[in-house]
């Protein structure tokens, strides 16, 4: 049989081993960092370790987290990052708000929003599959989306009122806010997809070494389309949640989202070299960044100082991941 058939027919490792590989050691580092944050926070800031605050952190991290989970698929696939994340999420929010305000079912609105953003991202995937630099392409697409949204809205606010959306957003089954449950669900689904399915493994293979993967029968274009589509779906869902949370959407509603998402992915230990990491790490990275930000907010650090800490965090994580990879070789 051909090499491709041989690879495809090889028995996959046992479930436990695969699950373990999905998490691996960097999770230990992240766990330790988490414990440190909880300790430091608990000791210095009285209001930090309360259940209310911890739930609030999770709630705040959901939108960035969902976006980061989505973006991690293109990072693992070797396509770096997308600098158009906030524009895509904003677009989804605007589309969702618009459709709901026109008295259509919120479910239909969510579908429409996700569809629009997924199509745009798939187009980006096509462009990238053809060989264009993913970062510059995403920068250009992001600027285009921003321009189009601004032109369409002209600074207006798209508001809606929907009792069903409100009750969904405010629901707290078992004390956990609905957006957090959505976040957990998406993280689970995406992680399972990347670690336990064949397309997921192909993506990782391609990200680690595109040339070898291609020789083994992995279709690079298919990988590009798949990962960008999966990012598009996640960004669409994030946008829907963002709009649902405040009952409206504007053209500038999520400034700094792209940087927060990139920070989450990098801090979580997903390497920009590709082939390393998993969506759950990006999710953990998002919660980590949100906790540190929350701790700083509770201690009334100014915006600039919080930015500096965020930037330092990114630099340190990136250097650590890079050095760890080199040492591991």
């Amino acid at each position: 049989m051909s090499a491709a058939e041989a690879v495809a027919a090889a028995p996959s490792p046992p479930l436990a081993q695969r699950l373990r590989r999905a998490a691996a050691e960097p999770m230990l580092i992240l766990a330790v960092v988490f414990v440190v944050i909880l300790l430091v926070g608990g000791l210095t800031t009285p209001s930090f370790l309360t259940l209310d605050n911890l739930v609030a952190i999770l709630r705040v991290s959901s939108i960035v987290g969902i976006s980061a989970v989505g973006m991690s698929t293109i990072t693992i696939g070797g396509f770096f990052i997308s600098l158009s994340a906030q524009e895509c999420v904003t677009l989804a929010a605007v589309v969702f708000s618009f459709v709901v305000s026109r008295e259509y079912s919120p479910l239909l609105a969510a579908l429409a929003a996700c569809l629009v953003v997924t199509i745009i991202n798939v187009l980006q995937g096509v462009v990238v599959a053809a060989g264009l630099n993913p970062i510059i392409a995403s920068l250009a697409v992001g600027t285009l989306i921003y321009g189009v949204v601004q032109a369409a809205l002209q600074g207006a606010v798209v508001a809606f009122s929907s009792p069903s959306v409100d009750s969904f957003i405010q629901a707290t089954p078992f004390g956990v806010p609905a957006p957090v449950i959505v976040f957990l669900l998406i993280t689970t689904v995406w992680t399972v997809f990347m670690s336990l399915t064949r397309p997921g493994r192909r993506i990782r293979l391609y990200g680690a070494n595109p040339a070898t993967a291609r020789l083994s029968g992995v279709n690079g274009a298919a990988v590009a389309l798949l990962v960008f589509a999966s990012m598009g779906v996640a960004l669409g869902l994030a946008g829907v949640l963002a709009a649902a949370a405040v009952g409206q959407a504007t053209g500038l509603m999520l400034p700094d989202l792209t940087m927060s998402v990139v920070a989450a992915v990098l801090v979580g230990g997903v390497s920009l070299a590709g082939g390393v990491g998993s969506p759950v790490r990006a999710a953990v990275g998002a919660v980590l960044v949100a906790s540190i930000d929350n701790l700083m907010l509770l201690n009334q650090f100014s915006f600039g100082v919080r930015q500096i800490v965020a930037g330092a965090l990114i630099v340190v994580s990136v250097l650590t991941v890079h050095l760890a990879q080199k040492v591991g070789k």
């Binding site: 770096f80 990052i81 462009v127 053809a130 060989g131 264009l132 630099n133 970062i135 510059i136 392409a137 920068l139 250009a140 697409v141 992001g142 600027t143 285009l144 921003y146 321009g147 189009v148 601004q150 032109a151 940087m259 990139v262 920070a263 990098l266 920009l272 070299a273 100014s302 915006f303 600039g304 100082v305 919080r306 930015q307 500096i308 800490v309 965020a310 930037g311 330092a312 990114i314 630099v315 990136v318 250097l319 890079h322 050095l323």
Partner: protein
């Protein structure tokens, strides 16, 4: 003589045609853009956009990308305003030097650890944004004596002091890149890095130089613009990151590294400045300029990709 003219036209013909087209459109659309006024306006664009493009293009030629140049301009601007009591030249020089030093540090880290410049500069971008914010106290800051920027508003025919300085930087960088061994190292590192190192090109110097230069340009641009307007706000130049990259790419710098000269960059800057001027004159809002820039970028990188692909195919077919 004819041969070099031929080569020049082949290399720059398309971009020069684009420049002419945009220029004529501008001149037709408004009276203020005609003649020397048009040249003055475009050259004025060099003082900010030109420097950004210069910084971006040198790192792109080296096969890297500096995403922190806009943040460095922010810091440079803030440093310059804070140091403005020291005088015009000193404060601007300080902003530029701070940019150069940080750029060199970044370049050193990137070269030493062989880390992807995208990854390294993303963190810097956020970090420096925060630094500029903290240094300026989170609010727009201004000079105490507004007359300090007056020399910069002088007009020498088609030039102004800041555009003249920017053009001087272009000339110096052009000479460095085109005529010195160090410049050729930068091209080598961008065009074929592994082969360059194997051939003995130093691993650190070209990259450190490229990033130091990018930082210098960012800091200088931010400093000059800040003093000229008498004040600065952290994050004011963030939009210039994309603009500088687009200008470089439009002019003909290759994203893949190792190709393109500063003549390419200069033409690209002229095109983008004229285009921005045309849009502003037409009364377009900021986001339209962003939209056009984004569309232009997509078109340019698509074209470049297809041209390169056709060139590769021709190369393969010729064998």
């Amino acid at each position: 003589m004819m041969r070099s003219l031929q080569l020049f036209l082949r290399e720059h013909g398309l971009s020069l045609t684009l420049l002419a087209a945009v220029w004529i459109a501008c001149a037709v659309a408004t009276t203020t853009f005609r003649g020397t006024a048009g040249v003055y306006t475009v050259l004025l664009g060099f003082s900010v956009l030109g420097l950004f493009a210069l910084g971006s293009s040198v790192t792109m030629i080296a096969g890297e990308l500096d995403l922190s140049i806009a943040a460095l301009a922010s810091v440079g601007g803030v440093v310059t305003i804070i140091a403005s009591p020291a005088g015009l030249f000193a404060s601007i020089a300080l902003g530029a030097v701070v940019g150069a030093l940080y750029g060199a540090l970044q370049g050193w880290i990137i070269a030493r650890l062989q880390i992807n410049s995208l990854v390294a500069t993303v963190g810097s971008m956020v970090l420096l944004g925060g630094v500029a914010f903290v240094m300026s106290g989170g609010a727009p800051i201004s000079v105490s004596d507004f007359s300090i920027g007056l020399p910069l508003i002088a007009r020498w025919g088609v030039l102004a002091p800041d555009s003249a300085l920017a053009l001087l930087c272009f000339l110096i960088a052009g000479a460095y890149l085109g005529s010195t061994r160090f410049g050729r190292e930068i091209y080598a590192v961008g065009g074929a890095r592994a082969e360059a190192f194997a051939a003995g090109v130093p691993k650190m110097r070209p990259i450190i130089t490229a990033f130091a230069w990018s930082g210098f340009c960012g800091g200088l641009a931010g400093g000059m613009a800040a003093i000229k307007s008498g004040g600065v706000q952290a994050g004011a130049y963030d939009v210039m990151l994309l603009q500088g990259i687009v200008a470089s790419l439009i002019g003909g710098i290759s994203l893949y590294g190792g190709r393109g000269t500063l003549v390419h960059v200069a033409i690209g800057v002229a095109i983008l400045t004229a285009l921005n001027a045309a849009l502003s004159i037409a009364g377009a809002q900021d986001y339209v300029i962003q939209l056009v820039t984004g569309a232009l970028l997509l078109i340019v990188i698509t074209l470049e990709y297809f041209v390169l692909k056709r060139g590769r195919q021709r190369l393969v077919a010729a064998h």
